[in-house]
């Protein structure tokens, strides 16, 4: 790419990122929806929200939940990472792929799973009651919400800690063993401190995700009226009878103001972490640490965690989708049915949602990877103020939870004359998805690009290829495999996305995620569980493809 193209691409991205945010900030200072002819500048929306007790309740709840889930997810995740990456725990190879499942299943689906399994009339609850005569838990409390949120975010901590532990050479541990430290002491004084920056990064990430939480509190907090920021925003839509755009804008501004420093902190920590681990020892063959008899309790603990966060909700959900009724004294084998799926097929908007989801994940995902690749190439091997600007711009959408970004994009499509005819098409959904996952997708693609040494491209220039030809003939073919696996990850990510489409939901723009959220509101549990099962099956297909591809590209 030549300089002019690079700058054009970066400017286009700046517009795409800044327009939605700018519109939201602008809207927050108006006294009515921006499209109404007579609106005036005012602080009244801020005054209203800052006077609203519910807002502070929601803010407080968000804080408590974010702190609580961090306190649960970090130690569990770090310990899990150490056990999986560094010890001779039995069954490691089998457990490892399952650990990441909660990351790939959308959290509304998991939440539905908890309701049908552990809710007051859930499968497990009824079985427990039938067996022991009492139920020692209540699903719809804040404590339960924190525990569930914490345990379902363990994979994030696991992912960052275990990859750091793996890139740590065993020589540093062996050096500790040689000087006389036992395995436990080595772990506590050498291995874990060396990956501390990564753990810290994961902690901030989980805390941040806690603030963004939408699906879990929507499903699990609602019955007792527990609001968090995102659900407060969602409920606000109809608080005053008419859509109160200015109030929503204020809440969005508040969410972005809290999220932005957290995103900046994450970025800072990630850099620090990378610097730290790059002074690692030689990552030669690692010898697992033997933990002796402790392996059995450790394995039991991991199994219990998996049972609670993966097996119970998902199997409950799938089971619920295949039975017509359940309750005390009902033999589940007698009530097996496919009726819910048949019913699903009778609603054109639901079938359209399934097709749309497949399209947005496959075609849309591929287009998004194309966009991320263009953006990366624009900044590739170029040191300048423009690329720094881009670095910061990428962070902005990161600070917008999907719900918020979907809303902002919806407004942009309403606001911009030449875009408004596209508002009720999948193009609007695609723009929103691409924007929400911009930072993630950019990192996936840049990871692939960083794999190629600069001299491979320089060699192309020397032999006589222009920068454009170097991109086309050398860079792109070399990262093809990396781009394909990025697409697979984006595919699964778009498949499970649920919050971004909520405000964009209209005839023609249905996707499974947003349909689930709106169906849940109507109480159509049969349809919700059937559609969730379809979603899980689709994600499972994506994951299967991913593991097949991973095996092939490694072998």
């Amino acid at each position: 790419m030549n300089r002019a193209t690079r700058i054009a691409v970066i400017v286009a991205m700046a517009i795409a990122v800044l327009a939605p945010i700018g519109l939201v900030v602008y809207q927050s200072f108006l006294d009515g929806p921006f499209f109404q002819p007579k609106t005036a500048f005012t602080f009244s929306a801020y005054e209203f929200v800052l006077d609203d007790e519910d807002f502070f309740d929601a803010l407080y709840n968000s804080c408590v939940i974010a702190f609580g889930m961090t306190a649960i997810a970090v130690p569990v995740g770090a310990m899990l990472a150490f056990l999986m990456a560094r010890t001779d725990l039995p069954g490691r190879r089998w457990i490892e792929p399952v650990i990441l499942v909660p990351m790939f299943v959308s959290s509304v689906v998991l939440a539905f799973g908890f309701v049908v399994s552990l809710g007051p009339a859930g499968f497990v609850t009824l079985w427990f009651k039938g067996t022991f005569g009492f139920v020692p838990w209540y699903l719809y409390s804040k404590t339960t919400l924190i525990v569930i949120a914490g345990l379902t975010h363990v994979p994030h901590v696991f992912l960052y800690t275990s990859s750091a532990l793996r890139s740590l050479g065993s020589d540093v541990e062996e050096a500790a063993r040689m000087t006389g430290a036992g395995p436990l002491r080595t772990a506590l004084t050498v291995s874990l401190p060396m990956v501390m920056p990564n753990i810290l990064y994961a902690a901030v990430l989980v805390f941040f995700l806690g603030f963004e939480l939408f699906g879990l509190p929507l499903v699990l907090g609602d019955p007792e009226g527990i609001l968090v920021l995102a659900t407060y925003l969602y409920k606000l839509t109809n608080k005053l009878g008419t859509p109160s755009y200015q109030l929503m804008a204020v809440v969005v501004v508040a969410i972005i103001c809290i999220a932005l420093p957290l995103v900046a902190l994450q970025r800072f920590l990630l850099r620090a972490a990378n610097r730290y681990v790059s002074v690692k020892g030689k990552a030669a063959a690692q010898k697992p640490v033997s933990i002796g008899v402790w392996r059995w309790p450790a394995a039991a603990m991991i199994t219990a965690w998996l049972l609670f966060t993966v097996v119970v909700p998902i199997s409950g959900l799938v089971l619920r989708a295949f039975v017509s009724s359940w309750g005390e004294g009902v033999n589940l084998l007698d009530v097996l049915t496919l009726a819910h799926f048949r019913e699903l097929m009778e609603f054109p908007n639901l079938t359209r949602g399934i097709v749309n989801t497949l399209l947005i994940a496959s075609v849309g995902g591929a287009l998004s990877v194309g966009v991320y690749t263009m953006l990366n190439l624009a900044a590739h091997r170029w040191q300048s103020g423009w690329t720094k600007l881009m670095d910061y711009l990428v962070l902005l959408p990161r600070a917008m939870p999907g719900l918020v970004a979907g809303l902002a994009i919806f407004w942009v499509f309403l606001f911009t004359p030449f875009l408004s005819p596209l508002r009720q098409t999948m193009i609007a959904i695609w723009v929103a998805y691409t924007l929400v996952w911009l930072a993630y997708g950019m990192r996936l693609v840049s990871g692939a690009l960083l794999q190629i040494g600069p001299e491979l491209e320089e060699a192309g220039r020397i032999v006589g290829a222009s920068p454009g030809r170097v991109s086309r003939d050398l860079t792109i073919p070399l990262v093809k495999v990396g781009l394909f696996s990025s697409w697979l990850l984006i595919f699964v990510t778009f498949m499970r996305e649920y919050s971004t489409g909520v405000y964009l939901l209209a005839p023609g723009t249905e996707v499974i995620g947003s349909l689930l959220v709106s169906l849940w509101g109507t109480g159509a549990v049969d349809l919700v569980t059937a559609l969730s099962t379809v979603n899980i099956a689709m994600i499972g297909g994506g994951l299967l493809l991913m593991s097949l591809f991973g095996k092939r590209s490694h072998g």
Binding site: R461, I462, A465
Partner: protein, 350 residues
Amino acid sequence: MAKLIIDDLHLSYGSTEILKGITATFAQGEIVALLGRSGSGKTTLLRSIAGLEEPKKGVISIGDQPVFDAAAGLNVPSEKRGLGLVFQSYALWPHKTVFENVAYGLRLRNVAKAELQQRVAAVLDGVGLGHLGDRYPHQMSGGQQQRVALARALVYNPPVILLDEPLSNLDAKLREEARIWIRTLIKRMNLTAVFVTHDQVEAMAIADRIVLLDGGRIVQAGTPEQLYTEPVSLFASEFMGVNNQIKSRVQDKRGGYARIELSGHPLWGKDRAGKGVSEDATGVIRLEQVEVVDGEGENRIPAELETSVYLGSHWEHVFRCGDQTLRAFGRPLAAGTHWLHLPPEQLWVF
């Protein structure tokens, strides 16, 4: 005729100056080695010639055409300079076969298919890989990959070929063969070549001329013989060979020679740095120039044999004389005191 001219080239990364004014001329058909330690600026100079780095001052011309001129704002991009470059890592494109790696430069020049086939085959034959065109780079040994890299740089007949540490990734035995092979090939094709190395033996073996760099400046340029036998500075003498160093003070000067002393014994040596009487000076003599002799005489000193090391073709002896050690090659010696002769014309005083 000068093929490549570099005039007063300066380059900085931020506030760090890497090249501090390099001026050099490279003649048609000449093989020149850029020799220096890491950080001396030799690779940066090579990359500047290739157009991969942008100097802040100076001129680079290939043939009669300037390709870089800071004052005129001229900086021809790499692909338009038409040079050949062999990368240290070879930088073979892993997704292309050997044939395609080599053919790429010709494809970019829109060479017709039949001619392309024939030229790639010819150059692959030239490097002894005629039969391996279908392979992928990862299916080849390091030595073969290096030949492919060379073929890729040669195929479009560049006016100048640049080589960045071309032998550093080969093992010792292969490297010795490759030295002779590369020199023969370049000479046979009558190419102008510039190559970067940190190994003075490699530089002497391949190059017609050596440019010795240190700290972004040229220390000395000349034939390998000149650099080895007439180094202009202590640094040059140390870089080019294995030396004894005698730390002393100039006692007397006479007719181009200066007198220093080693634990009280006077030694005359060539005055190479023009140091004045009673200034600190260092005497330098190559190991192979120190002779073990029978008795005392002019420029001879007594020294205690400390230890001897057998190196196969010869012995290396370590002598102690006062507080300094001297090393010399020779036949096996008995323990005790021996007389060493340091010929005045071989002892340089810097």
